[in-house]
């Protein structure tokens, strides 16, 4: 017999923890640190205070493997100085899967409201111990909770709750819980993750104490933070039927023109009208039904926009209407005033009250489907602006790279905002050469999405494929050179391929921006390499001349039977002069 049952989101992720990056003990410990650090950083971005993050991983019951601690139970504590969590949200934020503050349309590191709770959930199922959370939003109180997750019901269970006085006006959040992990196999990824996080967050102080008591310090290089992102409305290109269904359930708008204006990104009255006309959501009055006062109103409106309608009066328009064959006012206006722009006519008719649109709350589901389809087809929408994005900026990117990689040369570039499927995105690229960058057989690639380092599945990532497809010899780059390339994609919706947020999918628009961004910085590198090659060549030239000219002088003096050698200083100087000129 088949039985059917419902499972909660917590239960779902409990059963499918692989998709959230908790595949094995090593990966789980890495993912836990990563999720909590990202939450901490997001919390600081929110409060616009340079983050200070303290991570401590200590061992509770782990076995030793080759001098390191391997599989076993660890305790993880992450502390930040961010915005803090309002007391009433603390239990849900950590005890309920898919509860969060990040479902709004603006750039954030996390997007699913999943990561932090997944880490806690994983800790609970491997150790059956509660999570301890302390947080304050800077008020006079600090809230402390001991929580567990009721997995089947996806609800937090509050085991203990304390309120302390916040004498020092501390603000931030501390999360601490136990989990099963494998530090030995995760250590290199964790350190790499922290290093790259420090690189892309140069204004953060990050301290990490590992189970052996070693302290890793990533000191901030600046206190300047990128401007925080603004929240934004969905762009018509990026919405689906479900989004519209939800909107019509809550909207207060009574007509479609207002609905479009109010709920969508960069849609004004004019665009709203012409889109609705294009989509067939507009009905205009039958000219035959117009009464005298209607005609007077229409002519009055026409006279107001003299620019388009000169020489009109009530009699004339009234006559036209009486003899008209048009079925509706839009058709009528277009037939008799062919020189006037359709948008002007639409605005005029709307203002005069001859246009009716549906009440959005009464849209049938087939109409919703048609609306969404037409949104994708209409090409009169403005592209989304990028105020909802928070790229790092060229200056901070450079600071971060100089701080973590100490290269000899660096070039950074921020591309103009662009969009894919209605989602705005910005690509930032950088190339660094020499210094502390190791010489590998290949170019070192650092990938970031919304300021998160992407460490896994490099080969599948769009940036890697773009870099591999380029002809690097054109830029004087050979594989043995110490070169690192950095690609940062920020978007309200990064096109990840998996929930684990490991690599970015191929989207032609994203692909193109990455390619152009890398080309920009690669050209800068080429200039640098060309110049260096020139200086090097000149240096070698000078060495050659200063090696051989004295010998020529010596041998020919001897051959000629002279006593004094000729003065070759002049000749050597003339060679040097060339170098200075060329420099």
């Amino acid at each position: 017999m088949v039985t059917f049952e419902e499972i909660s989101p917590a239960d779902f992720f409990y059963r499918n923890r692989d998709i959230a990056g908790f595949t094995n003990p090593a990966r789980a410990i890495f993912s836990s640190i990563r999720e909590l650090v990202e939450n901490a950083l997001d919390a600081s971005d929110l409060s616009n205070i340079p983050p200070e993050i303290y991570i401590r991983l200590s061992q509770e019951d782990a076995e030793e493997t080759q001098g390191e601690l391997g599989v076993g139970v660890y305790r993880l504590r992450v502390m930040d100085n961010g915005s803090g969590i309002p007391a009433r949200h603390i239990p849900s934020a950590f005890g309920q899967v898919l509860f969060g503050s990040k479902y709004k349309l603006k750039q954030a590191r996390g997007t699913f409201g999943l990561g932090g709770t997944m880490a806690v959930l994983y800790g609970q199922i491997t150790t059956h111990k509660p999570v301890e959370v302390k947080s304050s939003t800077g008020t006079s109180k600090i809230y402390e909770y001991k929580l567990m997750i009721d997995i089947q019901r996806n609800r937090p269970l509050i085991l203990d709750r304390k309120i302390r006085r916040n004498k020092e006006q501390w603000r931030g959040t501390i999360v601490e819980f136990s989990l099963e992990g494998d530090y030995f196999r995760a250590v290199s990824k964790i350190l790499e993750y922290l290093k790259q996080t420090a690189l892309v967050t140069p204004y953060a102080d990050i301290k990490f104490v590992d189970p052996k008591g070693r302290l890793y310090l990533f000191t901030r290089a600046t206190k300047k933070m990128p401007p925080p992102p603004k929240e934004t409305l969905p762009h018509p290109y990026g919405v689906d039927v479900e989004t519209i269904q939800r909107l019509i359930r809550v909207t207060e708008c009574q007509n479609m023109v207002g609905f479009m204006q109010k709920h969508f990104h960069r849609v004004g009255g004019g665009i709203s009208l012409s889109f609705l006309e294009f989509a067939g959501f507009i009905k205009s009055e039958d000219p035959k039904r117009l009464k005298h006062e209607d005609v007077v109103r229409l002519v009055h409106m026409m006279k107001k926009s003299k620019k388009f309608f000169d020489d009109v009066n009530v009699e004339k328009v009234g006559r036209l209407i009486k003899t008209a064959h048009s079925r509706n006012m839009l058709e009528f206006m277009e037939t008799h005033f062919p020189k006037v722009d359709k948008n002007v006519i639409l605005r005029l008719l709307l203002a005069a009250g001859f246009i009716k649109t549906k009440d959005p709350r009464k849209l049938r589901s087939d109409e919703v489907v048609r609306l969404v389809r037409m949104m994708k087809r209409f090409n009169g929408f403005l592209p989304p602006d990028a105020s909802c994005l928070s790229p790092l900026g060229e200056e901070l990117l450079e600071t971060g790279i100089l701080k973590e990689l100490r290269p000899e040369f660096i070039a950074v570039s921020q591309r103009k905002p662009s969009t894919y499927s209605g989602h705005p995105f910005i690509v930032e690229t950088a190339i660094a050469y020499g210094g502390n960058i190791p010489k590998k057989d290949d170019i070192l690639i650092y990938r970031f999405a919304n300021r998160i380092p992407l460490l896994y599945d490099e080969a599948s990532d769009v940036s890697v494929r773009v870099i591999k497809s380029m002809n690097w010899r054109r830029y004087k780059v050979t594989p043995d050179m110490p070169i690192a390339i950095l690609v940062h994609v920020c978007s309200t919706k990064v096109p990840y391929k998996t929930v684990g947020k490991e690599f970015i999918a191929d989207r032609p628009e994203v692909n193109g921006e990455i390619l152009n961004g890398i080309r920009e910085v690669a050209r800068e590198l080429q200039k640098f390499l060309t110049k260096r090659e020139y200086v090097e060549k000149e240096r070698r030239r000078l060495t050659v001349f200063s090696k051989y000219l004295p010998k020529i002088a010596r041998f020919s003096t001897n051959l000629a039977g002279k006593k004094e050698e000729p003065n070759i200083e002049l000749l050597l100087r003339s060679v040097k002069k060339i170098e200075e000129q060329g420099d």
Binding site: R541, V544, F545, Y548, L549, K551, I552, A553, F555, S556, T557, N558, L559, A560, G561, K562, P566, N567, I568, L570, L571
Partner: protein
């Protein structure tokens, strides 16, 4: 480069070499004193600048020249090497020491002037020959010696420790090696009236044993294969200074034929040099026609032999009647024979029968 028609004695020649080297150094010195980068111009030795001169009956260099300047980053190293080679040559000549190409290669290292390889150092020595118009033997740089001479010629040494000492070249029955000491000697006296050059050591010894030098009143020269430059210059001197006709005996194959030709007309590699050729020398055998006429035991020509013969057909040095005839003959009979082939008629046949006939035929 002008052709020095007048023969000069060995001592004078040495002085001339030193004068030229001094002039060379002086020119570079003055350029540097004036604050300009030293430079030289010399005839180009590229193949398109090598021509055969029917008047001189040897290869010469054309009018094309190359410029080497210390101003040019690609030139300065070979330029310095060239100046060093001149310096090294002048030291050798002044101190009356001799050296070899290999020696030159190693000596450079003492001056922090390392050559990449032997080929590079050889090419610099050739450059010096081209610039100065003297051969490397004049600069006391000699190849490994293997050729010899035997006969009634008295020479007077000029090398240190032997100055004025005389030697008759019949004093040693194996012959006397044609080395630096011999090539720098003056000729004092001879009763011989011809020179017979022989390709192979076996036959050279046979000739001495059979007293060919007496019977034919000849000086015997062993070329030991392709004659070294020193030997070619020595034969030139025997011909020019003592007015002795020269007869050359080689194997009857394209290679032997060409050994004779290089003694007579020189090689393209030495187009920048004079006094290495003996245009009036005669190739007396073994000819292709001899193989037929004397019914000599023979081997079939190999593919390489035939290819070589076709090359020689196009060679301007082979335009003379004898050369054309013999080249054609080789190609038609497709056979070759060594000098030793005459032994089928007994050990003395070559001296008793063949040699007199051939000397008469080619005289």
């Amino acid at each position: 480069m002008k052709n020095r028609e007048i023969e000069i004695s060995v001592k004078e020649r040495r002085k001339e070499v030193l004068r030229n080297l001094r002039r060379f150094g002086g020119r570079l010195y003055n350029q540097m004193e004036k604050g300009i980068f030293p430079r030289i111009r010399m005839p180009s030795r590229s193949t398109e600048n090598i021509f055969y001169s029917p008047e001189l009956r040897q290869y010469i260099l054309g009018d094309k020249t190359v410029r080497r300047s210390a101003r040019n980053i690609r030139h300065i190293r070979p330029f310095t090497q060239l100046v060093w080679a001149g310096y090294f040559a002048s030291e050798l000549t002044k101190n009356r020491k001799t050296s070899t190409l290999r020696d030159v290669y190693y000596s450079a290292q003492a001056y922090d002037m390392s050559f990449k390889d032997q080929a590079e150092s050889n090419s610099i020595v050739t450059d010096l020959e081209t610039v100065m118009g003297f051969s490397r033997e004049d600069f006391k740089v000699f190849p490994e010696e293997r050729s010899a001479i035997f006969g009634d010629l008295t020479i007077e040494y000029t090398v240190p420790g032997y100055e004025g000492k005389q030697l008759n070249l019949m004093s040693h029955p194996d012959g006397v090696m044609i080395g630096p000491a011999l090539t720098s000697s003056e000729f004092a006296q001879t009763r011989a009236d011809k020179v017979i050059a022989i390709e192979k050591g076996g036959l050279f010894t046979r000739f001495i044993e059979e007293r060919v030098h007496k019977k034919f009143n000849a000086l015997l020269v062993l070329t030991a294969g392709q004659a070294p430059r020193a030997t070619r210059h020595f034969i030139h001197r025997l011909n020019k200074e003592l007015d002795l006709p020269v007869f050359i005996f080689t194997d009857g194959d394209p290679w032997g034929m060409h050994i004779a030709m290089v003694i007579i007309s020189g090689s393209a590699n030495a187009a920048h040099l004079r006094e290495l050729t003996t245009p009036d020398a005669k190739w007396s055998g073994v000819w292709a026609t001899d193989i037929v006429d004397y019914k000599l035991p023979s081997d079939p020509l190999t593919e390489v032999d035939i290819k070589r013969l076709h090359e020689l057909e196009k060679d301007p040095r082979y335009e003379g009647e004898l050369w054309r005839r013999e080249t054609q003959k080789f190609l038609s009979i497709k056979k070759k024979a060594e000098q030793e082939a005459f032994s089928r008629y007994g050990l003395t046949y070559i001296v008793d029968e063949y040699l007199p006939a051939k000397l008469e035929e080619t005289d």
